[in-house]
Symmetry: C3
Subunit: 432 residues, 3 copies
Amino acid sequence: MESAATQAPLAPPNGRPYNPVVTLNGWSLPWRMNNGVKEFHLVAEPVVRELAPGMKANMWGYNGQSPGPTIEVVEGDRVRIFVTNKLPEHTSIHWHGQRLPNGMDGVTGLTQPPIPVGKTFVYEFVARRPGTFMYHPHADEMTQMAMGMMGFWVTHPRDPNFMRVDRDFVFLMSAFDIDPGSFTRGVNTMLDFNLWTFNSRVFPGIDTMNVRQGDRVRIRAGNLTMTNHPLHLHGHEFVVTGTDGGWTPPASRWPEVTADIAVGQMRALEFDATDLGDWAFHCHKSHHTMNAMGHDVPTMIGVDHRGVAAKIGKLIPDYMVMGERGMADMGEMEMPLPDNTLPMMSGDGPFGSVEMGGMFTVVKVRREQKPGDYSDPGWYQHPPGTVAYEWKGEIARPARSSSAGGQAMPRAQPTPDVEVQVRKPSGHAGHH
Amino acid sequence: MESAATQAPLAPPNGRPYNPVVTLNGWSLPWRMNNGVKEFHLVAEPVVRELAPGMKANMWGYNGQSPGPTIEVVEGDRVRIFVTNKLPEHTSIHWHGQRLPNGMDGVTGLTQPPIPVGKTFVYEFVARRPGTFMYHPHADEMTQMAMGMMGFWVTHPRDPNFMRVDRDFVFLMSAFDIDPGSFTRGVNTMLDFNLWTFNSRVFPGIDTMNVRQGDRVRIRAGNLTMTNHPLHLHGHEFVVTGTDGGWTPPASRWPEVTADIAVGQMRALEFDATDLGDWAFHCHKSHHTMNAMGHDVPTMIGVDHRGVAAKIGKLIPDYMVMGERGMADMGEMEMPLPDNTLPMMSGDGPFGSVEMGGMFTVVKVRREQKPGDYSDPGWYQHPPGTVAYEWKGEIARPARSSSAGGQAMPRAQPTPDVEVQVRKPSGHAGHH
Amino acid sequence: MESAATQAPLAPPNGRPYNPVVTLNGWSLPWRMNNGVKEFHLVAEPVVRELAPGMKANMWGYNGQSPGPTIEVVEGDRVRIFVTNKLPEHTSIHWHGQRLPNGMDGVTGLTQPPIPVGKTFVYEFVARRPGTFMYHPHADEMTQMAMGMMGFWVTHPRDPNFMRVDRDFVFLMSAFDIDPGSFTRGVNTMLDFNLWTFNSRVFPGIDTMNVRQGDRVRIRAGNLTMTNHPLHLHGHEFVVTGTDGGWTPPASRWPEVTADIAVGQMRALEFDATDLGDWAFHCHKSHHTMNAMGHDVPTMIGVDHRGVAAKIGKLIPDYMVMGERGMADMGEMEMPLPDNTLPMMSGDGPFGSVEMGGMFTVVKVRREQKPGDYSDPGWYQHPPGTVAYEWKGEIARPARSSSAGGQAMPRAQPTPDVEVQVRKPSGHAGHH
């Protein structure tokens, strides 16, 4: 995380004004105005993407990257997109969520012929509805989306002050199944993925979201994996203000700290960045904040490995005799990893290993982060006395309950047929 | 998809009037009025269901089909259902979502004894609450629901004009795990299903939903698989107007293009069919719009198969050396499939293979589709110039950004530790 | 289920008043007032938890139990929590959903150093926001949460009448992967769990929720597994009144009978217990209401096992030749199970085996259940004539449709390419 600075987004060079979004580890696609039409050019092609320092993967994407660049237009813009196919098979693009002529919807076979290898097709429509969209193939979907083909699309409102926010971050979620030491994913995997990404990047390779205290912050995310991702923000509640179907009525919104984003769904999460600090933002499924390697390791907890190490050594290399005390060592040890493999838990914070991977990043709220400044301010400097600290004194004993019947606390009498493992608090009180 | 015409739903022959629903690839159960009580008869029994032309499966269902017939009653109706058990094991029926006497709730062991093999039981209650329901066994659930035992239930409102719509389609989602060449599913599968269905049918065997431009359309779906299904509609936004718990307050609704339906949940999706065309409607999980065969195929992308074909040939038949350029060939090639097996991607559209399977169908919006006409109007005839088309000219170069600091577009300087694979747009501009 | 009585919750012995919650198969943690600060002591340590009578498991938890005790405080309380680490590896605690100083957020490496083995750390903050929270490690998360480390936290509102309910039940959901005959789970399992729990207990070992007719009932649940759990209530509709982010606006609520709770999410479900009876409450994924053993059993439905029994006997013990008629036998048969293994479907109700396991319990609504009385009232006594019953008479034939065109019911003419297996109702009518 040392210096993955986020640059300021690009202001529109022509056309109508808007407040640009920031694409995590990405960029927005430039256009050309041609007789009042905004012209874009997407090139579908194989790419190499660095997932995080230390690991690259073969993917398919657009314009040299997976995901492709973000497209930003303004409500009412007439848009013309040239799509050149440099993949080894045919493709098409579906403009997910858009209102458009049926023949521009991009469903191979149903609304258009596929774009053959080496050819360029033209899509043209008016961006009728402002909001949050994405684009992806609708041809050999299982393979092409699995390989990383997708991109964000934002149609800004005609009135730049409509639902204006101070920071507007966007990313897509994708999943890969790449064996340690390998570069190419299994495209037919349905469930057992081992790399869970924001914009085809994993922690510690994901940009942090750096904001100013008091900012209204919007985070827009879309999901193109095979399972739901519950995005969890620390230290602040948010509301879902929009979907790929439009903006949500204010009266309909629920305060949340975890928003479940289903496959094919997009959500705009908004909150006021009131509290200073480095606040974790991640998928709450614990395997999705790990990198590869974790899922096939046998459980060694409670096992005295001295007797079995020899046997296990025949199955997995010596450095894998791990985990008899848990897995936290994985984030710390110097293991001879296979080439092109990330440790399963990594990323150094100001207090040591963060023991995370995958879909994890940090929202940094600072007093001094100026409008338009997206650079990384470094780690938060905690005011004295506000960090959890070691206690070396005695710990006093809890009070007894005043409840009727003289019942001790905690519940002294487990019901006869339900053996509740109760540790009496008095058993702790005197020992520390 | 050629001619899977949908018939008009059946008008109620007696009892109070209602606006009947259309069950995809199904039908509604007739009843008998007996002293003011609506009497239905369900027969639980093994059935054979055609998943799509070319593949049949052994299932369990009701009255000769999986799912069983739809039950339609009117709010306030007293209902008596005879359930005859012709399965090889005992069963029961739970009336999911209904208000009823506890002893009519259908939970084997808890609220009633099981219905033994060969016996008939009677359930009787008043349909107190209008809305969207389903029925399924609550006995050996894992097996019986996995085998296809389920059915839709609609309780129409007393006032036929309450939340009236022009078209009201219903279906249930189920999943099967049937090996290619086999007829019977594995009932203990928890995750690795390979056939994902609407009403036990897969694309191209699923009825299309054919409506008139301007119609208010309701699609009610329930999920009895083991995972969420995000149903995605192209070209239109919708709202969720109801659940199996009741109707949603209008102020609470979010505009959506993808509704995630959890297991055991039912949702009524509504939209105005404003835009003409053939609009895809499908689960957005890419593996759920594929048929069997796909999931175990090894990735060949980027591999020169000439050297390895011999080795692979020992593991899988020759015609499976596929996918070195992607998987789109799968929808096109003439492969000698095992008997009783569907191609993984199939269904011909007006522009060739749609490359889909599973939970996929089409909403056809036509100017000329009369009220009450549910027949298939054929493929959409696109107005000239509204279909994505091949471009053979030059593609002009994007403008440069006017943003401060002379920053080139796209971002010229990837941050040092984040290698962004940037393809310069100028690199494309001149080559096509 | 025989006598797993629920005791009354503990009234606060000091500090400000509140309406205590009831933790299923658990208890609330006592505290000590120290100069106006509520002091709690959590001890992270290995524990043994009985999942249900007949099976124990090695877990990690707090204060002798998994999940740890519930923490109950009042909005505005200053809270100090001592956390002693008796695990074999370092740990930390994240106070999920709380507003607090960044350094008290509990993210190892990012906001604090880990708590070393044998040490005690102090967390201190003001409970600023009333609502529904949880605590769990943010160190080696995959292992520590998988091993059962988690606990509930309720911050009661300052005004005890704010959103007051008559009964307030809380629990967390977790999943384990324990082979039959084993005591310790595989911590790296991502998907294939076989024990799905409420508060680390499975049916029939889960407390029932016993309420009085007319009570306003709240059930608060949080999910720390790896997948969504759709919680389904029989016989009543409910609304979601709160999340871990706060209380939902009344206008925003949907009536539901099944609420999907995503990983890392918490939900407060509320309903009026209007209808007497024993109402099932469970996850609607059918494999999540089974205990271990089920998932790897091969399908024998429709197979005459006499010929293959010998072959199968080589793979699995003789008593596993089951299921040729379905799986309901599993809940009934006297099988020689491995030690420390629960039957996959079990739990006796008043009408025999309930054929359930895992995430299943019962809401018992009784006229006579007094305020504050949480004891098990036994099985519901159904009024005469309100239980589904066997029918031995004839079953009359349904009426014919009055619909135009003379169309028979059910649909007499399956469309030519869609073979609908229609069993004519007249075919049933005369046979029973």
